[in-house]
């Protein structure tokens, strides 16, 4: 036994201790229990990771108990550690630990410090259940559990209307995805009679017809689930609003871990997805379109966290692009590098916000590099990493995704990805220059109080910066032979085989040079020209392109379209048609009618019995006449 259950058990204990006793034992207690529980989980994850690597078949499995068994349904609570979940374990607990440490400093002034850590611990617990579960339903427990924690943490500042609206939006949007997930699971159940991942993966090819209706439906439903969790079109709208939560939450949940669970699910079911070429094409297209859509929104946002949020949506789009062209390992590789540099970027933005007393508007920043040197340096590393400048982490994974897209023959998708990379470089350097260069636009009152963050916040930044620099060497491309391609070797035999792409070495080198210079360096230079000094040119451009600027600034009015086109009509129909018309107007009226009929018929007969004898006599006489008339004129 490898005691896999210990990994989620530590955060769960942390949650219980912080949730029940944190209020009474004080902040010191909470700031020890919170990170410690994740740290222990990380150590156990390391142990399991290496145990997994040294095991035949690279898989550990542990069954805890029978969860529900009835008829042909047989569900156990079982955990598995393999190449995929092993890697996720390390990302979740590793990055999670750093963010917990960071949160001590960032959140220390908060009254509900204990509540924050309780939720954060609970989140890690559910995230671990999500990746460890060996069947769909256990995964779904984690899937919804992280959604719940996300809901609670986005709404952490629950006296703010915008925060609670955002939290509700996140949960409900995710529920639409969950509907897809559940529907896919039900289809799987009726065709496979099991909900176990390994059984479904191993028999997918024999049970379902390749490219058939059923497998396409299943994977499309599951993909709908993925678009909810991983913020893709059409369900991405919740993620930018989720920035209402505290910044460490944005880093952990809305950048590094939870939002990648959709990708995890697809990677987990690669054997199913490769059977549905239509779905794969849709996955790739949705990913590419989301990537560029979010990037075009990011270039005009002025809230520092919103830029990063749209950047996350965009980067997630890249990962789906990789999944869609069958490069599962590469997509997961980008999940990993993205976890490093995006967590870093968010935490840095948090440090800036912290130093400026909760100012998030980049138009009220500027010239901060001298005042916040560590934050500046680490954030610059993160920026270089995300823009794909070698040899930082993002270069390897992003380049690999673009290469796989090209070599699989999807040139149009490659071009979208390439354009996105270009935009990414622009908006990220725009963010850097607006924040750290140029003239200070900081409120004079705040200006005098600017200070670098405490060590507990800076240390995680440094660690993540190091990972953002070196994390990419895990997957050096083939053409640069000085290191073996670790990621391909690591995932060997895990994913479903996709027909290998055909591309020449020359093509790969040309594309690489293109993406470094055209897509990364030139936009950076352009951003420097526009935002490095005074913002006159930026304002000028804003006016020249007012239409596009407004469109981007207002996020293409997608929220307004959803609200006016879907949400309000449903509300109106429910209120006016279903409730006030069908329930009250039709059904109740019918019920009242039965009462009225009874009363009215009673009233009629009562009218006859008025005690006037003469009237009785007349009725008697008329009745007799009527009978006589009948008998005389209608005898048979």
């Amino acid at each position: 036994m490898h005691q896999i259950w210990l990994v989620p058990a530590f955060p769960l204990i942390g949650f219980i201790l912080n949730g029940l006793f944190g209020k009474f034992f004080g902040k010191r207690f909470v700031s020890i229990v919170g990170p410690l529980s994740i740290g222990l989980a990380f150590l156990q994850s390391l142990v399991l990771f290496f145990a997994m690597l040294s095991t035949e078949g690279h898989a550990l499995h542990e069954q805890l108990y029978t969860w529900m068994q009835s008829g042909i349904l047989n569900l156990d609570v079982g955990f598995q550690v393999d190449q995929l979940s092993g890697l996720f374990l390390l990302i979740i607990t590793g990055v999670g630990f750093l963010i917990h440490v960071y949160s001590i400093g960032y959140m220390y002034e908060e009254d509900a410090f204990y509540r924050f850590f309780a939720y954060l611990n609970l989140f890690v617990f559910f995230m671990l259940i999500l990746v460890l579960g060996d069947n769909f339903i256990l995964m779904f427990v984690g899937w919804e559990g992280v959604g719940l924690c996300s809901y609670l943490l986005i709404g952490y500042y629950f006296e703010k209307q915008s925060a609670i609206d955002a939290s509700k939006k996140a949960f409900i949007t995710n529920r639409i995805g969950d509907f897809g997930f559940l529907s896919g699971v039900m289809l799987i159940f009726i065709y496979f009679n099991t909900l176990n991942f390994s059984e479904v993966n191993s028999s997918a090819g024999t049970v379902l017809e390749n490219g058939g209706l059923i497998v396409t439906l299943i994977t499309l439903f599951l993909f709908l689930g993925a678009t909810g969790k991983s913020a893709q079109i059409p369900l991405y709208v919740w993620l930018p609003d989720a920035m209402e939560g505290p910044t460490p939450v944005s880093a952990l949940i809305h950048a590094a871990t939870m939002v990648t669970s959709g990708l995890y699910m697809i990677a987990r079911l690669s054997h199913l997805f490769v059977l549905a070429p239509i779905t794969m094409a849709i996955v790739a297209s949705v990913g590419a379109v989301t990537a560029i859509l979010a990037a075009t929104i990011a270039i005009t946002q002025t809230d520092i966290k919103r830029v990063l949020a749209y950047s996350t949506v965009s980067q997630l789009g890249y990962m789906f692009l990789a999944m869609g062209v069958g490069a599962f390992g590469v997509g997961i590789f980008h999940v990993m590098t993205h976890a490093f540099f995006k967590a870093l970027l968010f935490l840095c933005s948090g440090a800036v916000i912290y130093s400026l007393h909760h100012e998030q508007d980049m138009m009220k920043m500027g010239a901060l590099r001298k005042k916040l040197p560590v934050t500046f340096a680490t954030m610059m590393i993160g920026t270089i990493a995300i823009t794909g400048i070698p040899p930082f982490a993002g270069f390897f994974s992003k380049d690999e995704i673009l290469w796989k897209t090209w070599s699989s023959g999807n040139f149009a998708l490659w071009f979208i990805g390439f354009l996105t990379a270009l935009l990414t470089s622009f908006y990220m350097f725009r963010l850097m220059f607006l924040t750290f260069y140029g003239n200070s636009r900081v409120d004079p009152h705040t200006e005098s109080h600017i200070h670098e963050s405490p060590v507990s916040m800076l240390a995680p930044l440094v660690v993540l910066a190091i990972l953002s620099i070196f994390g990419g060497f895990f997957g050096v491309p083939h053409i640069l032979h000085f290191l073996p391609n670790g990621i391909e070797h690591y995932f060997e035999g895990f994913y479903a085989e996709v027909q290998a792409g055909h591309g020449t070495v020359t093509a790969e080198i040309i594309l690489m040079v293109l993406s470094v210079f055209v897509a990364a360096l030139i936009p950076a230079w352009f951003a420097w020209k526009t935002y490095g000094g005074k913002l006159d040119t930026a304002d000028q451009r804003k006016e020249n392109f007012a239409f596009f600027h407004n469109l981007s600034l207002n996020k293409y009015y997608v929220d307004e379209i959803y609200n006016g086109g879907i949400i309000q009509p449903i509300k109106k129909i429910s209120d006016l048609v279903f409730w006030k018309w069908i329930d009250v107007g039709v059904i109740d009226r019918f019920v009242h009618l039965t009462g009225d009929v009874a009363r009215a018929s009673g009233g009629l007969i009562r009218g006859l019995q008025n005690g006037v004898l003469q009237q009785y006599a007349i009725i008697f006489a008329l009745g007799t006449l009527a009978i006589l008339y009948y008998l005389v004129f209608f005898p048979y």
Binding site: T66, S70, I137, L213, I570
Partner: protein
């Protein structure tokens, strides 16, 4: 007027029912029992609330520190204790009725005092016994809830327990009707301002259903007499009956209408929001938690076994109504402006799930329906208790009057969130287990049913979270909210058992399924579920192929 009602209600309980007990002890030697308990345990459970009622009357003016509240509470704990004992003695592998008690009642027509339980009724009895102590604690020492109110509750409890255990249809009907009387008084006397309208509506609906049920029961009895030459109203005897298909249709409608009104199934649901809204907290808890379960229970017990041909024809339509209820109930719940009405409409949606689960007629669906009945009792009961707690402090049901409750009542907010999440089927809590089972069961009959049912999870999140947000979050709305006091220890104690069982049933529901599986497997075999499935199963792939080849 009020006192007349009270006396009427109490007299029914106190004088009529002991007569039955007396009759039973008179013929105690004829009790046949399949289980190892040496005494009539089911009768003990059913009539143990009488003890509470009697003492509530004796203590109506108080005696020392004792009062009517204490009498009923202690007696409800006693019932619960005996039920727990019953659970330990229940044979999980046995298909058939256990702890059977049978005494002649009206010999001339083969009507018996006939009790027994199986996997279907076991947990319904348990949850009835489990819910009452919490519900009683919730109305502890409230002045307006006089001793007479306590007596009504005890009568209601007898009716509920009896209906779940009765194996003779006339006895079932007696208990079934017995429940209506105390509920009528509870809403009519102790209800809100528009209580007369609500009670009348409730009465019109249920009497309509009951009379149809009675007529159908008697006619089925006559059919039995014609077929076998002797009278019997025992339900297991009736299972031997094969009724001509044309007759089945009429009887099916009679039975189904009665149970559909009770459940309530769309479109017979409009009595529920009004009844809930006007009912006192305890009435709402019992109504939502237990009374509604008689609908699905009756369907399992009578409709499917007795009328296979009619079921074959009509069941798809009933599934449609269940599915409509899931979505429609949720959408209407979304736009409610009053707390209790919102939860009432959510009940319509939940009961839709249960009805779908039962009618898809396979082990998963039935098991899901059963556990969902228990879940709904626990969770909706708890939600009504929560609403009662906050209503008792603010005296308003209007959602718009609330806001920022979390600032003054954090513990309450935590409990309320927990039960709200259970209600919307968050995995890890009990509601999910039931919904999942039902959907999986439905998928095996027709995957489109399952997908439609799954869309209900979206709507559920919308109405529940929106309500929660408006009541709990945001800035403090007004002075009433600002001066709220958080839950008392008593209130925490009464919610805790419900919360724990909600969690346990979500994390480890297997003990539940172990105890119902044998019954359900026997049930689907005895009543030919396979045949039904073979006929109605919808194969998407085959349908698609057929469509393609046509073109």
């Amino acid at each position: 007027m009020k006192s007349v009602f009270m006396r009427l209600g109490t007299s029914i309980g106190v004088f009529l029912l002991p007569l039955i007990i007396a009759a039973q002890s008179y013929a105690a030697d004829s009790i046949e029992s399949s289980s190892s308990v040496g005494f009539p345990i089911l009768s003990l459970i059913i009539f143990s609330p009488l003890l509470g009622a009697l003492f509530a009357i004796l203590l109506r003016n108080g005696y020392g520190g004792l009062s009517a509240d204490i009498a009923t509470f202690v007696s409800s704990l006693l019932t619960l204790g005996v039920c727990a004992f019953l659970l330990t003695k229940f044979d999980s592998n046995f298909y058939g009725f256990q702890f059977v008690e049978k005494l002649p009642w009206i010999d001339r027509f083969g009507i018996n005092y006939y009790l027994g339980i199986d996997g279907v009724s076991l947990f319904l009895v348990m949850v009835a016994a489990f819910l009452l102590p919490s519900a009683l604690l919730a109305t502890w020492k409230t002045k307006e809830k006089s001793w007479a109110f306590q007596v009504q509750i005890m009568m209601l409890q007898i009716g509920i327990l009896g209906s779940f255990m009765a194996l003779d249809s006339i006895l079932f009907y007696t208990f079934f009707e017995l429940m209506l009387v105390p509920l009528y008084f509870m809403i009519g006397i102790w209800g809100g301002s528009n209580r007369i309208y609500a009670t009348t509506k409730f009465f019109i609906y249920t009497v309509f259903g009951s009379l149809l049920l009675l007529a159908s029961l008697i006619y089925t009895g006559i059919l039995y007499h014609e077929a076998f030459g002797h009278w019997s109203f025992s339900i297991p005897d009736w299972y031997q009956l094969s009724i001509p298909a044309a007759t089945q249709m009429w009887l099916f409608i009679g039975f189904c209408l009665a149970f559909a009104i009770k459940a309530p199934l769309f479109p017979f649901h409009t009595w529920l929001p009004d009844a809930h809204y006007e009912a006192p907290t305890l009435g709402s808890v019992e109504l939502a938690g237990l009374l509604l379960k008689l609908g699905p229970y009756g369907i399992i017990r009578f409709v499917i076994p007795l009328f296979p041909d009619a079921s074959d024809t009509y069941v798809p339509f009933l599934i449609y109504f269940g599915l409509i209820g899931i979505i429609y109930g949720g959408l209407v719940a979304m736009v409610q402006q009053k707390l209790k009405k919102l939860i009432a409409y959510s009940s319509v949606a939940h009961m839709g799930y249960i009805v779908v689960g039962i009618f898809v007629f396979n082990v998963q669906g039935l098991a899901g329906g059963l556990i969902q009945m228990v879940n709904h009792a626990l969770v909706t009961g708890a939600l009504f208790l929560c609403v009662g707690m906050i209503y008792g402090r603010t005296h308003t049901q209007e959602i718009s009057e609330y806001g920022g409750v979390v600032h003054t009542m954090p513990i309450f907010s935590a409990f309320f969130l927990f039960f709200s999440l259970a209600s919307i089927g968050l995995p890890g809590l009990n509601g999910f287990v039931g919904e999942l089972m039902i959907m999986l069961g439905a998928a095996r009959l027709n995957v489109i049913y399952a997908v439609l049912a799954a869309s209900g999870v979206i709507v559920a999140a919308v109405y529940m979270l929106w309500m929660y947000q408006r009541v709990i979050f945001g800035p403090v709305k007004n002075d009433v909210i600002r001066n709220l006091k958080d839950l008392t220890p008593r209130e925490i104690v009464l919610l805790l058992p419900l919360a724990i069982s909600t969690l346990v049933l979500g994390v480890y529901p297997q003990p539940f399924f172990e105890r119902v599986n044998a019954t359900l497997e026997g049930y689907v075999k005895e009543f030919n579920a396979d045949e039904f499935h073979a006929k109605h199963k919808f194969d998407l792939a085959a349908y698609w192929e057929a469509k393609k080849s046509k073109q």
